[in-house]
């Protein structure tokens, strides 16, 4: 538990969902809303506190929403407010969605509102919102969680077994929901399996299966099911799972990451397809590099923080030993990804400083020799980089060119390792440690490190 927590729930709850168009409105009414109405969800969340349910929708969809019996039932529990979004445009559907979310979050800080951000195409396990309430009352400023995506039609057919006798609510427990999701898993999720022979272009979450029980997941982009903004965020740009929480939460220890699906569980409903061109062949080392590339260009600091928190998604009792093994493995892989990211940042810095040969050698080690994990764990480091003339001279020497041949991976690793020191060392500190080595350019800053350009290759 964080020491910065100030116990006490929000003054008011605001549940927000954006749904427009027949497809999403119908799905919201037939799946999301029935699951939100299960006993451990909306009723448990708003008990004893003022609450409203804000639906952001288009005028054409209002009749379908207002005529639905579940909406009438919802309005008996809290205030239902529909907000017309016809006037909200945007540069594409994602930008429009961001603008709509901003509207849904307007005035939240002033009202000390706890925002529950729902999606219109998801099934929430019974008890999920009750768990959110507990975390909010402990003082957490955000609750992040996520769940697997499933292929719609067959999943929905199986889900009917959990519909209540009057067909109005869906009461599905977390384990039953996780088992259904495993049966109807979406191929996207399969491409995020660490052990898969392919990888998705946007690896924003990764899975490590625990056969017969479920999977460990580490997600960079998680759904902020609950946020409690302390300041208005009208200028927020980005997506709710990629930038919003960075804007809202200054101290990441105030973020509650759901670690176990028994506590909170959700499943997103989709169709089979997406561009299969987004799937590429990969292997263990290439996967680390590709994930690191994606993280370097897309993930926010909060996204990287999220990935340090493994979540158990399971449909049986967990065999603790097996899950710990999977979690340790996932931690090692994530360490490798984040260390590889450090190398990608180093590579960019080398290119910016005209150190093309050293940058090329680093890229060679990553691409051609699979040395993606040679750095170990990401931590503050000092990199000693040969100046362009020295690196170029070495490359053209026999010793240099030999080292780049097949079968010399260990020697190449040693060469690279010679150029790294733990911790941040200034140029002055380095001079005393490496007598005889001249520093051509010192103290080049790097995220989590420092770079010095030296006059030679350290063989």
């Amino acid at each position: 538990m964080s020491s910065g927590l100030r116990p006490g729930g929000p003054a008011v709850w605001r549940l927000v969902v954006a749904a427009w168009g027949r497809r999403f409105v119908d799905r919201f009414l037939t799946t999301t809303l029935p699951s939100v109405l299960s006993p451990g969800n909306v009723a448990a969340l708003v008990r004893g506190a003022p609450a409203e349910f804000m639906i952001l929708t288009e005028a054409a969809d209002l009749p379908r929403l207002s005529d639905h019996p579940l909406m009438r039932r919802l309005s008996e529990m809290l205030t239902v407010r529909t907000v017309c979004i016809d006037q909200i445009g945007g540069d594409g559907k994602y930008d429009r969605m961001t603008r709509i979310h901003r509207l849904g979050m307007e005035g939240a800080a002033q009202a000390d509102a706890g925002l529950i951000l729902l999606t219109p195409d998801a099934i929430w396990a019974d008890g999920t919102l009750a768990s959110v309430r507990r975390a909010a009352e402990l003082g957490y400023q955000a609750v992040l969680m996520d769940g697997p995506r499933v292929v719609g039609p067959a999943f929905l057919a199986d889900l009917e077994a959990f519909r209540g006798p009057e067909s109005d609510t869906i009461n599905v427990g977390p384990r039953a929901l996780m088992e259904l999701s495993a049966r109807h898993i979406h191929p996207n999720e399969a491409a995020w399996n660490w052990h898969s022979p392919v990888i998705h272009d946007a690896p924003f979450q990764l899975h490590w299966p625990v056969a017969g029980e479920g999977m460990v997941t580490r997600a960079f982009c998680m759904h902020p099911l609950f946020v409690r903004p302390r300041r208005e965020i009208g200028d927020f740009v980005g997506a709710i799972d990629n930038g919003l929480v960075d804007r809202i939460v200054d101290d990441f220890s105030l973020i509650y990451y759901c670690r176990d699906s028994d506590e909170m569980a959700v499943v997103s409903i989709d169709e089979l397809g997406f561009s299969s061109a987004s799937i590429k062949r990969t292997d263990k080392r290439d996967r680390i590099l590709r994930v690191a590339k994606w993280v370097t260009s897309v993930a926010t600091p909060q996204n990287r923080h999220a990935a340090l928190h493994p979540a158990r998604r399971h449909f049986t009792e967990v065999t603790e030993r097996r899950w710990r093994t999977a979690e340790r493995l996932s931690a090692a892989h994530m360490d490798a990804v984040l260390a590889c990211r450090q190398l990608l940042l180093l590579h960019a810095t080398l290119m910016e400083h005209g150190l093309d040969t050293a940058a090329g050698l680093l890229a060679f080690a990553l691409h051609q020799r699979g040395l993606v994990g040679w750095l170990g764990r990401a931590r503050p480091r000092t990199f000693l980089v040969p100046a362009e003339a020295a690196a170029s001279r070495w490359l053209n020497d026999e010793s240099g060119s030999q080292l780049l041949q097949q079968g010399q991976k260990a020697a190449l690793f040693c060469l690279l390792a010679n150029h790294v020191r733990d911790g941040r060392m200034t140029a002055d500190e380095l001079r005393t440690l490496l007598p005889g080595v001249s520093i051509v350019e010192g103290d080049i800053p790097l995220e989590d490190g420092i770079v010095h350009v030296i006059d030679r290759v350290l063989g």
Binding site: P153, H184, L272, M351, G360, L362, Q368
Partner: protein, 325 residues
Amino acid sequence: VAFQAGRAAEARQALADHLARNEEDADAWLALGLMSVRSGNLGQGLSALRRVARLRPMAPEPYRELAAAYQIAGDQRAADCERSAEALERDQVIDLQAVISHMRRGATADAIAVGLEILQRHPSAIRVRYELALAHQAHNDYESVADNLRLIANELPASASVAKTLADFLWACHRLKHLAQSFSLAILGSAGGGNVLSPLHQVEDLYRAAIRHDPEWAEARTYFANVLRETDRLGEALEHYRAAAEYAPGDAIAHCNLASALAAAGEISAAIESAREATILRPDFGEAHELLARLAWLVKDAALALAHDSRALRCERFYTTQAFL
């Protein structure tokens, strides 16, 4: 104007210049096709008319004109074209405005609802079914796309566009379901529920049909070659990759795929040339840079290899392609 004044060569040149800048202008391709056929240049005419059919797969005119041109050439493809034209001419009586108006404003679920109502009255309404397939595609509902395209393909045997698109979707469904099945197996210990794999021979037959009716369609060649490589037929794949790069010299993906296949076949120098071409055409094509670097190492060209390894690493994100890598 030039053609009507009897200056056929001048007219064809003007159209060719225009089409070099406006490749998607179906009217211009149709004009070029008709002019070429009338002036006895059947090869150019057929090629242009096939392009019209690719751009407007639901219009009867290109099939009608293709049927006439194939008959002149004594080509058996005339019969398929005739049948396709007739099917689409019969279809013209069905009004699709209601579906199209929903599609234009992005209301795909409404378009599907209206389209299904029309299909109850006119089960063989080809263009309505085509709009339905597009709407299902917007929902990522690939199986419904494939179901609709399958029925259309039966009615339009000359449509390379329909055959290729159906093959693309069946292939995608196969890959995606296979992937999902393996993951279900890893978690549950048994395969998931709705993931029945479609037979691959259908995919192959459809790509062959598409290429038969539109042999110059580089994308069809590339995608078919990808299937062939996936099923360990590198030699035949290479033929199609070569044809694709020839028909679409400005397409980086075609060159990259060709490079990859050439490398697999041991033709390293040719592979380097193709990979280099791909990187020139798309400087942000990370996969092509990576491939070129790998090939450069094989021929011990350290400078080229280092430069392209670095370029590959700097490409912001992996460029999404149909590249077989």
